[in-house]
Amino acid sequence: MSLLVTMHVYSQRANPSWFLSSAQESRFNELFRGLREQTPLKARGGLPIFGYRGFAVSQIPGSEPSFFVSRGIVDPGSHQASLLDENRSVEAFLLESSGIGLDMDLKGEVDVVLQAPVKKLIELRLGQAAGMPSGCPNANTAADAPSYDPARWNAISAVVGNNNCYNYATNKPLNNYATPGKAGGINITYTSCDGDGPEGPVKGPAEGAVADGLKRTGNFPAKLDKGEGWYVAALLSEKSDDCHWLRQDFSGCWSHKNGEDEVRNVDADGRLITDPRLGNFGKYSIFCRFMIANIKVNIA
């Protein structure tokens, strides 16, 4: 089956597209196989700026593109690493493959864009390095503690956007933006950690968490054996409008997910979190308490 090429260039108008001939398809595959250098950058997901943005190559019209090629990056999808095409030979080939079907002025404009050096474009986009935790006290405190695995939470935008700090602390990426106490059948407010006590009508986030199956503890960092769960910490907002949860990873350091943001293992000062009582978490400045989560916790 022929490959369909779509040039992403317009905002309102339909983008131009054309099929590759068998010979062109062979050449495209040959060029792709010739690329060796992997890059963490993806070609998909650029801002919808006007003008040339790259080529999508699809096996079936209307389907998700098999490849997206843009700014010297050949991106075969989220399950494979992108490849660097330093001289933009794949883009130049795809542009040329349009034949006489593409407006000559547009072809000329894109041809000029393709002269931009890839190295400079890459330098613009790179610049973030992940720090691996080291020097964490209380490592291996809890046998069940999850590993710090940000890719599990950060790689898919739907997972990033639909799970909050409570989902993360309890290690349940259920895409339900969970509220403490909801599964346990109680409504909470954020005015204090424990509301107005066990008999009072106002329930706080810690009481909600208990209703969901977490346990209060004043004994951190006592060892937790297999089956006993892992430590989490609740912090309250000084504005009494929200709370923030962290979890202790197997490394002994702490990590967290700030609402719909990505999972991180540093605080607001960029420091590795060795103790949630000591880190800078902005408005979540009131340490509430340590609690213990386990795989049986139910959140909604």
Binding site: L47, F50, R125, G127, D241, N258, E260
Partner: protein
């Protein structure tokens, strides 16, 4: 046409307020984004409390666009938002989607 939503990114546990842009607002947003200048991407420490606006439904790929403190970021690119103009304009589209007490917090950031 895919609906375009804007979310106020402010809470950690509680759901964030969100609202939908009308067709004219989407055109205005696209026009504003088209004029932005690309800048190097930087990894910053997490911010707690108000951390800008998140736009969904705008990208061909389904990804989100984040607008905060003079920077506009997609999954792959970063652009400069001089004077936080785009951020302020987006806040102006919120209408009554943002409660008064939350507005007070947001205003204190500018």
């Amino acid at each position: 046409m895919t609906p375009v939503w804007v979310k106020l990114n402010i809470f950690s546990t509680r759901p964030n307020p969100r609202w939908r842009l009308g067709p004219d607002q989407v055109r205005e947003l696209e026009s504003r984004i088209a004029k932005l200048k690309e800048i190097p991407r930087k990894e910053a420490p997490p911010v707690f409390g108000y951390r800008g606006l998140v736009i969904s439904g705008l990208m061909e790929t389904g990804g989100e666009v984040k607008v905060f403190k003079g920077t506009v970021e997609s999954e792959t690119d970063s652009f400069l938002d001089p004077g936080r103009n785009l951020e302020l304009w987006l806040l102006g589209t919120a209408g009554d989607a943002i409660a008064a007490d939350i507005w007070a917090t947001v205003r204190s950031e500018f």
